[in-house]
Amino acid sequence: MAAYLIKIAQYWLRFIKHEFYFKLNAWTISALVIGLVLFLPMAEVVWHLTMPAESWEHLRDTVLGQYIKGSLILVVGTAALSIFLGVSSAWLVASCKFPGRKFFEWILILPLAIPTYIAAYSYFDLLDKLNPFLIWIRLNISTEAMALVSDAIVYPVTIIVLASVLYPYVYLVARAAFIQQSNQCIEAARTLGHGPHSTFWRTALPLARPAIIGGVSLVIMETLNDYGAVKHFNIPTFTTGIFRTWLSIGDLPGALRLAACLMVLILFLLILEKWLRFGAKFHNNSKSDRPFKPYELGQIKSFLAILCCLFPIIIGFILPISRLAYWASQTIENVIDSNFLILTANSIAIATAASLITVLLAIFLTFTSRYFGSRTINATNRLAILGYAVPGAVIAIGILLLAKQVNQAIGWIMTGSLSMLVLAYVVRFLAVAWQPIDSGMERNCEQINNASRSLGVTAIRSLTKINIPMLRNALVAAGLFVFVDTMKELPLTLILRPFNFETLSTKTFDLAQQAQIPESAVPALCIIIVSLLPLIWLNFQIRNTEK
């Protein structure tokens, strides 16, 4: 036993020596500091959990159950509907031949450009449209029945709204998985006498399962992060609960505990995802394997396939966009003024700054961790990218707590400054940039960096001459994703925006909050248009690589 303990102790001593003595240099020290600083806002939230929360018992006994119920209903419903919409359309465009298939292939991702709260605003009167139906129930059945139906109906409506713009996360990964699937597997299934349906259910879908689960987990994160849409439909969820407890009851520790519950829920889902993705190496078939031959569809089936692909696009893109465009055309004169131009410029400027800084930090952090093989930096990186799993509202609270402590400690006022807002975006979206850069570096640069080191080249030269040129596409993609996410971001911006600073998203929210939804269409459309550009670029890239 003693010998074993000594062995463990020696192991750790050696580890510490290697990590903190041998691998210590300007790169690793700065990466360590940056990683920890980016994790600080989340650490603040966890740290403040120890504070006494006066209203916690009240929350636990009254609304916590509602928040869990509301969040879970939305998560399950949105995930299920997203899977249905995403997988069905992905399978059709990946495996069947019908007119317009190429067109659908990329247009199906367009709803990704619409943030959930804007989708909710574009459907703001959907519930009112159901009023005649409810009144019919009251007149023909009973008032109680109407009250029951009208209480419940808000959930399916919200789920439809959320899923109609979130399904592309599933669609994208499912389509890629279906396309990459080994021709041999599919052909084997066919020669074993499985028709298209049976092939789909028994071969293609199980093989694509790990990828689909990955996509669904993004849908779930977005659902849990949403504030604007659930606020609009007044559904009790964790995000609305956090805002309410913090701001209405004035109990920050209580809000933090709710945030912690939410983080536990997310952690649970992440673990579930890891577990469900077990066997994710299903499709590491060689590239030389031909993609499988698509099924030729007859006229009627083609027509049905087109309908099936049109449906998500109509509810997720065409309908919201055309409604917004109509409202925008009605109100554009009232909305567009010099202020509007300024806030558009604000949005673009801050999103540009946030994406540049995020990408720079992401490449610096991944490079340092991989180049110097530092497990410590790898660990701090993992902590730093946790921000993506944490809802914007929670990060904003964490940043405010941090700012308060900094203010008390050295009198430096961080609140209401642009730099703090940018810091918050970096914390929230680092993972968005980190993911493509890190996987690109893992795939393309590992061995090359070793080669470069053994040639005696300095780290900075390896980074600038080898890694950055090699990862050009990943860097642009990362930058664009962060840019779009920043443009769309709402809860965090609402809390942290500085003096006289409005962005397109806060303007949209403000106008919608004042029940000026037609007016909010103008900034909403601007956000969507800006978000569309990277999607078009991405599509262009995918096409190129497929060729």
Binding site: K7, G373, N450, S454
Partner: protein
């Protein structure tokens, strides 16, 4: 003079598992070519990476030309080590041309004539403006070699230099590499799993098994006088005969587990004996099976005590279940 000295190198990845490298020591003279040979999991690539500085050992010292690169208090980063490393998959920079690849290393530009000489020696002249993906596998390897040698390293490390090549190309590449090493007077440590490659190229080889250096020596020494069963098996099928059965055998080793002295006998060291009066030690037994091969017949032979594998000339007629007398001839 020793260019490279390794002392007691130990490395484990996980405190619960047996170490990947276990107390390994050897040294390497100037202009010597050393092969690290062993099966997968023997730790040979880990050792190469430790010498290059891409990994740090838990214990032990690496000394290159009197400079300590690794010790309990020293760790010289790979950039600062005077080692060139050629990777198994060459690791050429895909975004740089052949020439840009070659001159990328530290100090590679100091001596353009040296680079030209290397380019001519390896026959890659005329390819300088191409990108790596426009080259064949053999050409890529030469570029990687030139790139590593361009920095004039004290020590050149190669990871499985011949594993990606098809058998026909292999022989010519072996000769070319050897020629290049001799002409440039390079000290080389390379990793291989193939005993033929190691025999053809290396002055000495380090036989590795489960993180230990089982035997160090020239190919011939190791072939004739292996230290244990694992080393002996590197060169193909081997029979281990207790020394009491062939007391005059020139080579033997003591098996650690049973503490038994064994003689390694290669299958071709047996002869069928028709004349019972020979001086050679003989064994009587029965043929179990016969497999025809291109150059010989492989016979599984069973005596009252042992199972023996022997290679007999193709013209010798042997039937399964027939009884034979065989003799061991150390001269063969």
């Amino acid at each position: 003079m020793n260019v490279l000295t390794l002392k007691n190198i130990t490395k484990s990845y996980n405190s619960n598992e047996p170490p990947a490298l276990n107390d390994l020591s050897f040294n390497c003279q100037s202009s010597e070519v050393i092969a690290l040979i062993g099966g997968s999991g023997s730790g040979k690539t880990t050792l190469l990476r430790i010498i290059a500085g891409l990994e740090a050992p838990d214990y032990g010292e690496v000394i290159l030309n009197n400079d300590t690169l690794n010790s309990s208090t020293v760790f010289v980063t790979p950039e600062k080590r005077d080692c060139g490393l050629v990777f198994q998959d060459y690791a050429l920079f895909p975004n740089r041309t052949v020439r840009q690849n070659i001159i990328f290393g530290k100090g590679a530009m100091d001596d353009p004539s040296w680079i030209n000489e290397l380019i001519n020696m390896t026959g890659i002249a005329g390819l300088e403006k191409r990108f790596p993906h426009e080259l064949s596998g053999g050409q890529q390897q030469r570029v990687a070699l030139v790139r590593a040698l361009a920095t004039r390293p004290l020590l050149l490390l190669l990871d499985e230099p011949l594993s990606h090549l098809d058998p026909e190309l292999k022989e010519s590449v072996r000769t070319e590499l050897l020629k290049l090493f001799r002409e440039t007077k390079t000290t080389v440590v390379f990793v291989s799993h193939d005993i033929e490659d190691a025999t053809a190229m290396a002055d000495r080889m380090v036989v590795m098994h489960k993180g230990k250096a089982e035997q160090i020596g020239t190919s011939n020494e190791i072939y004739k006088n292996p230290m244990n069963k694992n080393v002996a098996r590197l060169f193909g099928k081997t029979n281990f005969i207790p020394i009491k059965l062939i007391p005059n055998a020139p080579y033997s080793f003591t098996e650690k587990e049973s503490n038994e002295k064994l003689v390694p006998v290669r299958p071709h060291q047996w002869r069928v004996i028709n004349d019972p009066t020979t001086d050679l030690p003989t064994f009587n037994g029965k043929v179990k099976s016969v497999i025809n091969q291109v150059s010989h017949k492989e016979v599984e032979f069973e005596t009252s005590q042992l199972n023996i594998t022997l290679h007999l000339p193709t013209n010798q007629s042997v039937q399964a279940d027939s009884k034979l007398t065989i003799a061991y001839n150390a001269e063969l």
